[in-house]
Each structure stands twice: as structure tokens, then as C-alpha cells.
């Protein structure tokens, strides 16, 4: 009985940390998007929007390398995209954290499941499937 209680307590602690991690990720990444948005609007407010037809070749920030390059030159749209990138990584970081916590709990089946999810995302991240 005492061992199951201890386990529940562990689970609860992990869940609290997970929740905090998610919220912090959302707040930080949305703040970056907001800052990038302000810079973007100051520079482009008079521009004309054109989203009628999907033109993937016109996208300047469709890779992580391009986004970082744009952030270094302080471009508003690159900073927005960087914030979005951080937002995308928030739930992924949550899985990484879950893998560690299951490792501590010695629940190797769920360590494996966590790795499978990360593998699926990594494969799509490398863009091998997207092109």
C-alpha cells in the first residue's frame, strides 16, 4: 500500500512540473511572437497582403536555419516565426520530460513509447517526408 501511495505522489509531482513547463513555454513563445509582430508591423504596415494563392516558394522562413538567420538581422517576421518554432517545441519538450520521469519510475515500456513519439516527430522535422 505504501509503495502505491508513494508512486501516486511521484505521479502528482511530475504532473505539476509538466503543467508548469507547458504554461511557461506558451507564455515565453507568445511573448516572442508579440515582439516580432510589433517589429513586423512597424516595418510593413503600409504593405499590401497577398494570400489569395498558396505560393510555398515565396516563404522566406520555412527552415530552422533560415529563421535563425532572420532573427540575427532583427527581421520582425523571422522573430514571429522563431516564437512559433518555440511554441511547436513546447509539447515536444513535454514528451522529452515525460521520458525522463518514466525512466526514474523505471517504467521502461513508457520510456519506449516516448521515444517512438519523438522519433515520429524527428523524422517529419528532417523534412524527409515533406518533400
Amino acid at each position: 500500500m505504501s509503495s502505491t501511495e508513494k508512486r501516486n505522489l511521484n505521479d502528482k509531482d511530475i504532473q505539476v512540473i509538466l503543467g508548469t513547463l507547458l504554461r511557461a513555454g506558451v507564455i515565453i513563445s507568445m511573448s516572442i511572437v508579440l515582439i516580432g509582430g510589433a517589429i513586423f508591423l512597424v516595418h510593413n504596415q503600409g504593405g499590401i497582403t497577398d494570400y489569395k494563392v498558396f505560393k510555398p516558394e515565396l516563404s522566406n522562413f520555412s527552415s530552422i536555419a533560415a529563421i535563425f538567420k532572420g532573427v540575427l538581422t532583427f527581421q520582425g517576421d523571422a522573430i514571429i516565426q522563431f516564437g512559433i518554432l518555440m511554441l511547436i517545441f513546447t509539447p515536444i519538450a513535454r514528451i522529452v520530460f515525460a521520458v525522463f520521469s518514466f525512466l526514474i519510475e523505471r517504467d521502461y515500456l513508457y520510456v519506449l513509447i516516448g521515444f517512438i513519439i519523438l522519433a515520429i516527430i524527428t523524422i517529419s522535422l528532417n523534412g524527409g517526408l515533406a518533400h
Binding site: Q15, R23, V26, Q45, F54, I84, L85, P91, A130
Partner: protein, 277 residues
């Protein structure tokens, strides 16, 4: 349209979408996409890319609150995430090659289905029968606290639920939505989870599922900063306000009015899609 005006209109629209989406349980994504495509003439590929980003923001933001209450079953969530992420990546890849008109038609159908689902009375199918061997193997059975009492529950029909999640994930990746309505079917009706556990766990999974397809969209240039910025800020603030209002008000009438509006939007999308073929 000038960039500033476009940003302000989308910001307001996304705020409303997030607010109504959280009040009715429909989600912000399914409302912002018709708004962008029908009212502002944005190509559906861009609308989907922006919507998926807002799905990550709202689900991660509210998952934080649920996880702390200890209702989310992380094991069920992670186990089913295998299905939803595989589906999401496949759906996102298909979306890249699919004609915008076909996407609009599929979207319209799912929108009508989701609207009907929000009106249907929920029936609690939860059970204590722990006979499912898959549930035992993956340690999915659990308990949740409610008013100081621990309620136990057992999970049934794991393979069926897994398959349904694969489908939900595919639609999520294809259409850029959380596909909460389908996840509820998989968890409530097939796997027999109690509401409290299924809604929070499905929300918890949405972030990872959306992240898997967002990665594909990003590579394809479907996430445009000019649209994604006002959409995710607007939907997130609207949804946060909605979840606060939700605790104090009854939403039955709102749901009916909203289901009618959404069905109208859906028919318009289907019509536009068919006439564009």
C-alpha cells in the same frame, strides 16, 4: 488590403473564434479557418498553417491547468499519441498535395459533424470492468479525484480506440484542427473513459499531435508569420477569456445558435469547394 488592416481584422476575428470555440467546446481552429478563407479570401493552405499554431497554443495553455488537477491520464495520452502523431504527419503530407477545393469540402463535412457532436447529450459510458488485456498491458486503467473522492475507472476496446485516434490524427494534420469531436468518440464511446478524464487527456494530446503536423507545414512554407501572428495571439486570448467565463455561465442556448451558424459556414465552404472543382 494593407498589412495593418489585415492584422487588426484577423486579430479580432481570431479573438472571437477563440472565445466562442472555448465556450461551445468546438475549438478555435474550426472557426478561424472558414473566417480566413470565406471572409478574407486567404488560401486554405495558409489558413490551416495558422490554425494549427493556435491549436498548439490553446491546448498547451489549458493542459497546464488540467494536468495540475491530476485528472489527465498521461499514460493513455502518450499511448494514443503514437496513433495521433503518425496520423498527423500523414495528414499534413497529404494536405500539401491535395487541391484546396477538396480540402474545403472535407473541412465542411467535418465542421457539420463537429457541430452536431457539440449538441448531442453526452452519455457516461465509464466502467470498472478491467478485463481488457491491452489496457492491463499498457497500464491504462486509473483513477481521478473529484470532490476529495478517488473514482476508479477501467479502459475498454484499446485497439478500436487506437484506430479511431489514427483517423482523428490524420484529419487534424489534413485540416489543421484539433479534431476534438473525433477524439471524444474514441475515448468516451469506444474506450469508455469518464468525461473528466477524456476531455482533459484529449486536450493534453492535442499539443503534440498539432506539433507533429506543424513541423511539416513549416517546412512547406504553409506557416506565414503575417497570418499566424494575429491568429495565434487572438485565438489564445479569446480562449483564455472563454475558459474563465465558462465556469460561470450556461452555454446550452449559445451552442444551438452557434451550431446553426457553423453549419451555414460549412455548407458555404462545401459549395465553394464543389464549384471550384
Amino acid at each position: 488590403m494593407s498589412v495593418l488592416l489585415f492584422t487588426i481584422i484577423v486579430l479580432l476575428g481570431a479573438f472571437l473564434a477563440g472565445l466562442l470555440g472555448s465556450l461551445t467546446g468546438l475549438g478555435g481552429g474550426v472557426i478561424i479557418i472558414p473566417l480566413l478563407t470565406l471572409a478574407l479570401g486567404v488560401d486554405i493552405h495558409y489558413a490551416i498553417g495558422a490554425s494549427i499554431v493556435s491549436v498548439i497554443a490553446t491546448s498547451s495553455g489549458s493542459a497546464a491547468a488540467y494536468v495540475k488537477e491530476g485528472i489527465t491520464n498521461i499514460r493513455i495520452g502518450m499511448f494514443l499519441e503514437i496513433a495521433t502523431t503518425v496520423g498527423a504527419v500523414c495528414g499534413a503530407i497529404v494536405a500539401v498535395y491535395l487541391n484546396a477545393n477538396y480540402i474545403a469540402i472535407i473541412f465542411g463535412c467535418i465542421l457539420i459533424f463537429s457541430a452536431i457532436m457539440t449538441l448531442k447529450k453526452k452519455v457516461d459510458h465509464s466502467t470498472l470492468d478491467e478485463s481488457d488485456k491491452w489496457a492491463k498491458f499498457f497500464k491504462l486503467n486509473g483513477s481521478y479525484p473529484d470532490k476529495g473522492i478517488e473514482h476508479k475507472y477501467a479502459v475498454k476496446h484499446v485497439p478500436g480506440g487506437f484506430l479511431m485516434m489514427l483517423f482523428a490524427g490524420t484529419l487534424s494534420g489534413l485540416l489543421g484542427i484539433g479534431s476534438g469531436a473525433l477524439k471524444v468518440i474514441a475515448m468516451d464511446n469506444i474506450m469508455r473513459l469518464p468525461f473528466k478524464v477524456s476531455t482533459t487527456t484529449s486536450n493534453f494530446m492535442m499539443g503534440v499531435t498539432a506539433a507533429a503536423s506543424a513541423v511539416v507545414y513549416l517546412h512547406r512554407g504553409q506557416i506565414d508569420p503575417g497570418i499566424a501572428m494575429p491568429v495565434c495571439i487572438g485565438v489564445l486570448t479569446g480562449a483564455s477569456l472563454g475558459s474563465k467565463v465558462l465556469l460561470k455561465t450556461k452555454t446550452d442556448k449559445l451552442k444551438i445558435v452557434f451550431a446553426i451558424v457553423v453549419t451555414f459556414l460549412a455548407l458555404q465552404m462545401i459549395y465553394k469547394g464543389i464549384s471550384g472543382l
